[in-house]
Point group: C2
């Protein structure tokens, strides 16, 4: 690989000329190499197994860029793969778009590209097309990443809120709050020492295994921004059914709970980046749990509650450890900016 001529990103790196071409050919292409990307066409040309596809996009503005358990690059790939995975598809291809502030260190860009490359490779997803823009110093905070993704729908899988019925079980594949609490613990103005680690991970290998082996999965969603509280409220609202979850069954690491208590956050509202919530028929729940628990990303999986009859309006209720009840509300939105 030819060494880049510069240590930092210049505005001219986004100008569509020689400098951009060099950066793409010497730094980006070698890290993400695949035949489709190598053509550097205006669009990637793909021959998918079927025209039944899932398509998603997410921009990432996480601060700090590097955190325990991941970085903005890993987060971008996992976030997009997870959106495709919980929609019932096998992720195939990604588009990568970078907005970089003038002066950003090229060695940090390399680290981020290494993460992107590693996650893409581990998940058999190719980065097939991309874009890079530069903005003046002060016009963006270091680097923002957008990833769009394409997946091919798994045959005979039709996930949707419409499938959800009273009695269905709610399963989560592991502990909640790890990502959000890790990010907040590493912010400049708060920073504290802890063993907090983001759960940032790509879920497709687990979701595909589940969906190919279990017919009773009705719906899946990854509880990212807004946390488990937002996802449960969305499920309740859109299915028009109520939900009961048991506090004692929701897996939370002690260090996450302690950090949240200390800072005054409700762990239910905190973002996750390697979790899914699945709504599963009661007959399939144990099989689902068994498959999860044999997978590294599902070893702490639990049935945390059920879909129940709505009496007045659809609500999400928590049965507390001392058998009290409280409503879990849709979070307002101001908990944690720039968590992903």
């Amino acid at each position: 690989m030819k060494k880049a001529k510069h240590d930092r990103i210049l505005l001219a790196h986004g100008g569509g000329g020689q400098l951009m071409d060099e950066l793409i050919r010497n730094l980006i292409l070698p890290k993400l190499k695949n035949d489709v990307l190598a053509e550097l066409g205006d669009s990637a040309k793909l021959n998918l197994a079927s025209g039944s596809v899932c398509f998603t996009t997410d921009s990432y503005v996480v601060k700090p860029l590097f955190f325990n358990g991941g970085d903005i690059g890993k987060l971008a790939v996992c976030g997009t793969i997870n959106d495709l995975a919980v929609a019932g598809s096998k992720p195939i291809a990604m588009a990568l778009s970078l907005i970089i502030e003038e002066g950003f260190e090229i060695k940090l860009l390399e680290k981020i590209l290494d993460s992107i490359s590693e996650q893409a490779r581990l998940n058999n997803v190719d980065v097939v097309t991309g874009d890079m823009k530069t903005v003046e110093a002060g016009a963006a905070d270091k680097i923002f990443i957008n990833t769009a993704g394409l997946g091919v729908k798994l045959p005979n899988v039709d996930l949707g809120m419409k499938n959800i019925a009273v009695g269905d079980k709610i399963i989560i594949n592991g502990t909640i709050g790890d990502h959000g609490m890790t990010i907040i613990s590493q912010r400049k103005d708060i920073k504290f020492q802890s063993s907090l680690k983001s759960d940032c991970a790509c879920l497709a290998s687990l979701t595909c295994q589940l969906l190919q082996n279990i017919t009773g999965i009705k719906f899946m969603r990854d509880p990212t921004r807004g946390g488990l509280a937002a996802t449960l409220n969305e499920i309740s609202r859109d299915s028009a059914l109520s939900i009961e979850v048991r506090e004692a069954d929701i897996p939370i690491k002690a260090v996450v709970q302690t950090a949240a208590d200390m800072l005054g956050f409700d762990v239910l509202n905190i973002a996750n980046e390697g979790k899914f919530v699945a709504v599963v028929s009661p007959e399939s729940a144990d099989d689902c749990l068994n498959i999860c628990r044999k997978h590294p990303l599902g070893k702490d999986a639990k049935i945390i509650g059920e879909i129940v009859q709505t009496h007045d309006v659809p609500t999400v209720e928590l049965i507390t450890k001392i058998s009290g009840r409280r409503i879990i509300q849709m979070p307002y939105g101001r908990e944690l900016p720039r968590i992903c």
Copy 2:
């Protein structure tokens, strides 16, 4: 449509909670409405006519956001549609991702969404999935937009550099430099009065008509950043053939030429946002020109040059108006930051 509660974007609008949900449901969904988007799933589920698809992404950081002939929203839709169009596909669906600075006026966001909606509708492309992130005041310059696009490949169309041969004609569908010179003329530090207007336009209706009617089209590309100079150099380098273009045949508006001369720019390096360069077999060139000239986006189309034998290394040469010759080089990249 329910009125938004706030005049400006708050950080909490990106928090994944109630506020974000309200903004999406009350402002964004009504403007972009279609059945797939309305599901607000983690991914859009699409049934395409075929698995042979084109996939592209671009981020937009243009400054100013609003300019004569368009705005960042129109630019984002057209840019993505054009990348799909010149790759030989019919654009079908788009993903829209917004990164918004805290404090951005919601009425400006509405204007931008109106442009996106209008261009999407005019081009029969649905915005099927999206994302929104907010960052603190000062962490981004107002709003950045990413659009990813999906197109279905036109049957029996196989565009590629490999098809290009000596004797092929080079066609452009109209005047060059309009977009870039318009943007630069409206920058705060330069601002001058003129009749400059961006050529920002979606080319798919014209490219699809051409590709469905003419078999001799070998390759197409839209000369955006780096202008005609960059595109011709890419074609020459990747086909390993030389190119000759005639200065007298390159359509340039007098006002664009004057502005470029005044500010010291070479119009060949200036970005276009509603142009394609097509490499066409000599037998098909006139038919191609005829179709172009009957279309509003091709009325100034011209054959500007030819693919010629390479002698030493592949070069792009300009035959000047006084029959001199000069090499058109790949621009370095520093001409115009944030042009798109």
